[in-house]
């Protein structure tokens, strides 16, 4: 057993944390959220590229840092602590990983350096309405026409699609009545037949519903993962699942710290509320949840690339269940213990709460993963 991080990993975490601490105070974040056209800062995005964070998930062969899932976990801890609005998860994790795993040489050469440099934004559009996180229940269809494909379907709550240069759309290949293999297509955002509705989500970022109505893409747009496409997409999604688990841990740490600080300073009935045993026990329970969550985010990071499907699935579901429960408990207690202040927009607590609420619903809810885990008990 070894739970220590390498010197390089510790440096990555420190650098990212320092960057977030310096340029991403809560007030700065509010300005970015309210004033910028994208709902995030292009300048900060460039800053993230400059410290190498955007090339972390780009393989060394493609000129990136070729970081591991553990490296990504540490980066995501800092993303969670800073409550970053920038599309790190959507672009630098999910889209980058998709291109790295499924892209051919030409596609990798075209996109990965641009992503690593922060010059282009690409997002993966996978979720669909009515699928309830069933990652294989994809109804978007693509069928060969001439020297390309036509795509028809509906992708929902695609984070940062409104700021993207290109979308990676998952679709099944085949006629409407066939269930063919899963594939990923590069689709420019201005493709005729592509329609986007963009809105704010509860955690303060922008997302879109994307409708594709016979959108034509050339044959070169297909990310040809071969027979393994489905497995590779699953690997991308598990990598993303592990990433939000780590993000949650960063946010949970911040919420606990804020709550303890508040309990020390807030006086009621003549003493700090932190002196009340009932509240002390509540905060102790928060610690239990967070440490369990941290352990499971380690497990998720280690297992998300495991080649044994059953081992991996069990670990990912177990992690998401524990993390989801921690998000709920710690988030709700932090708000409750802050009293009226906790429900205001003014305090950062409510913003962490909302990000944790969103994480709980991303990559499969607590209920869904509990059920998936239960189905494997035998």
């Amino acid at each position: 057993m070894d739970f220590t991080f390498t010197e390089e990993q510790q440096m990555l975490l420190d650098t990212t944390r320092r960057f977030v601490a310096k340029d991403y105070g809560f007030e700065a974040r509010r300005q970015i959220k309210e004033k910028s056209a994208d709902g995030f800062s292009r300048e900060i995005w460039q800053g993230l590229a400059d410290i190498g964070l955007l090339s972390l998930n780009v393989p060394e062969a493609d000129g990136g840092l070729g970081g591991s899932a553990i490296d990504n976990m540490l980066a995501m801890n800092a993303v969670g602590e800073g409550l970053l609005l920038e599309p790190y998860l959507a672009c630098a994790v999910l889209a980058t990983k998709t291109l790295a795993l499924l892209g051919n040489d030409a596609q990798r050469a075209e996109w990965l350096p641009a992503l690593a440099a922060g010059e282009k934004i690409v997002v993966l559009a996978h979720d669909e309405p009515k699928t309830r996180f069933d990652r294989l229940a994809i109804d978007t269809r693509s069928w060969p026409v001439g020297n390309g494909y036509l795509l028809t379907g509906h992708k929902c709550v695609v984070t940062h699609a409104g700021s993207a240069d290109m979308l990676l759309i998952t679709a099944r290949i085949g006629k409407a009545d066939e269930t063919g293999p899963l594939a990923v297509f590069c689709v420019p955002v201005d493709a005729p037949g592509l329609d986007k509705t963009t809105y704010n989500t509860v955690d303060g970022v922008r997302a879109s519903d994307v409708r594709l109505n016979q959108v034509f893409v050339p044959a070169t747009a297909l990310l040809d993962g071969g027979a393994d496409s489905e497995a590779k997409i699953a690997e991308v999604l598990d990598f993303g699942l592990a990433a939000v688990c780590a993000e949650a841990v960063g946010a949970l740490d911040k919420l606990l710290a804020a709550t303890v600080e508040y309990a020390r300073n807030r006086k009621q009935f003549g003493q700090p509320i932190g002196k009340f045993q009932a509240l002390q026990h509540r905060m102790a329970d928060m610690v239990l949840h967070i440490e369990q969550a941290r352990s499971m985010s380690y497990l998720a990071a280690v297992r998300c690339t495991d080649t044994d499907a059953a081992t991996r699935a069990r670990a990912m579901s177990a992690a998401k269940v524990v993390i989801g429960q921690a998000c709920r408990f710690v988030g709700q207690q932090a708000v409750q213990l802050h009293g009226g202040m906790g429900v205001t927009d003014e305090l950062d607590v409510s913003h962490y709460f909302k990000r944790l609420m969103a994480i709980e619903l991303q990559f499969g809810s607590t209920d869904q993963h509990l059920e998936q885990y239960a189905a494997q008990l035998a």
């Binding site: 009935f269 009226g340 429900v343 609420m357």
Partner: protein, 398 residues
């Protein structure tokens, strides 16, 4: 032992149900049943309809223009109104300041204020909480200094719900700084149009403007607006809080929201079957419904005990804790029912008659905001932690 309502009570329920069905404006009902944003006018319109029927002050005695209902009748009335999708009555005038004026106010105050409360001609808000005080209400800092026939008020109140609409505010103010904390407090009525009052919105995490901060800077209040005796306000404050804690279980609202949850769970699908047939989700709904059944019976037990000795006791704390936990659990289940379509937060689409882009199913639109908004339930009106202190002290004698 009989858990059934009497034939008279059932007939009363039927009468209320029919009246609400025929009188509740459909546009208001649509907003309530779908969790859309209500305007102040929606509350006023409904109150005027009830007033015209003679039901404006459900908890009021006959001599003040109320229907003189028993506690059980009031309970039935509130349950029927909530279930049908009527807006909840804004309590600050009807259920908070009015009972205090009835009990402790002068005849002149009763004549001046009560009819306008009943007719929804004046909107009231509450000036109890102060920054840094929270549930420790007796630590009132806002000062009122007597100068001739006026009090001069300086200080700050917070969490003033719907204060942006209010014509009047009832306030706890400190009139004697020498006295121990609970003495030296007075209960006064202040016209919100008096010079020196500033109202500043507090935006909550769902993006709503429901609560406010209210500042008083050399606000001159005529002495006739003092209720009862100077420095005896804490007695009236406690009397008011007792009233605030009646009907806090929110049984009717919970029943209506469970119906909404079931409706949505039968429209959503999982594994190509209705979500309501999914064993995990079905058991989640079942648990909530069972908890509510237990609370309903507990509430009725408290009501029947109250019929004998009037003032609600510490049992009200049990109703508050369980009632708010159940309502919060329903909002959580609603969010889970629609999954990622709970994530879009679009307040503009929560207004009735919204014509813009549709995102996800219509019913999903307000669910995240509703969930976020309902976090307040376990905090306000004496936080659930404070309610547990009351249970430990008053019921257990610890």
């Amino acid at each position: 032992m009989d858990l059934n309502f009497t034939p008279e009570e059932l007939a009363f329920r039927q009468e209320v149900r029919e009246f609400v069905a025929s009188s509740l404006p459909p546009d208001i009902q649509h907003k309530v049943l779908n969790g859309l944003i209500l305007q102040s006018d929606d509350y006023i319109r409904w109150q005027k309809i009830l007033h015209a029927k003679g039901w404006g002050g459900a908890s009021w005695r006959k001599d003040f223009g109320g229907p003189g209902w028993s506690a059980t009748q009031q309970y039935i009335f509130e349950e029927e109104c909530a279930a049908a999708g009527a807006p909840r009555t804004i309590p600050f005038g009807l259920k908070m300041v009015a009972p205090v004026i009835m009990q402790y106010g002068s005849p002149a105050q009763q004549e001046r204020f009560l009819p306008k409360i009943l007719a929804a001609e004046e909107w009231w808000c509450q000036g109890y909480s102060e920054p840094g005080a929270g549930s420790d209400l007796a630590s009132v800092k806002t000062r009122a200094v007597r100068e001739g026939d006026h009090y001069v008020v300086n200080g700050q109140k917070t969490w003033t719900t719907q204060g942006q609409y209010a014509d009047w505010i009832f306030c706890l103010v400190r009139t004697d700084t020498e006295a121990k904390s609970q003495r030296g407090i007075s209960f006064i009525l202040i016209d919100m149009k008096t010079p020196g009052i500033t109202v500043r919105p507090i935006i909550t995490m769902d993006g709503a403007h429901e609560v406010n901060e209210v500042w008083f800077e050399d606000v001159r209040v005529p002495v006739e607006n003092l209720v009862g005796e100077e420095n005896a306000g804490w007695t009236y404050a406690k009397f008011l809080l007792g009233h605030e804690r009646t009907n806090i279980a929110g049984i009717g609202i919970a029943k209506r929201e469970i119906a909404r949850l079931k409706r949505i769970a039968s429209l959503e699908t999982k594994n190509r079957k209705p979500l309501i047939e999914d064993p995990m989700f079905a058991s989640r709904i079942a648990q909530i419904e069972i908890d509510l059944t237990a609370l309903e019976i507990t509430n009725l037990r408290v009501l029947s005990a109250e019929a004998e000795r009037r003032a609600p006791g510490p049992e009200a704390s049990i109703l508050k804790i369980k009632g708010t936990e159940i309502q919060q659990a329903i909002t959580e289940a609603l969010v889970q029912a629609v999954g990622t379509y709970a994530l879009p937060l679009r307040r503009e689409a929560m207004a009735a008659g919204y014509q813009g882009d549709a995102v996800g199913p219509f019913y999903a639109t307000p669910l995240a905001a509703n969930y976020l908004n309902m976090r307040k339930l376990s905090i306000y009106g004496g936080s659930n932690e404070i309610q547990k202190n009351i249970i430990s002290q008053m019921i257990l004698g610890l």
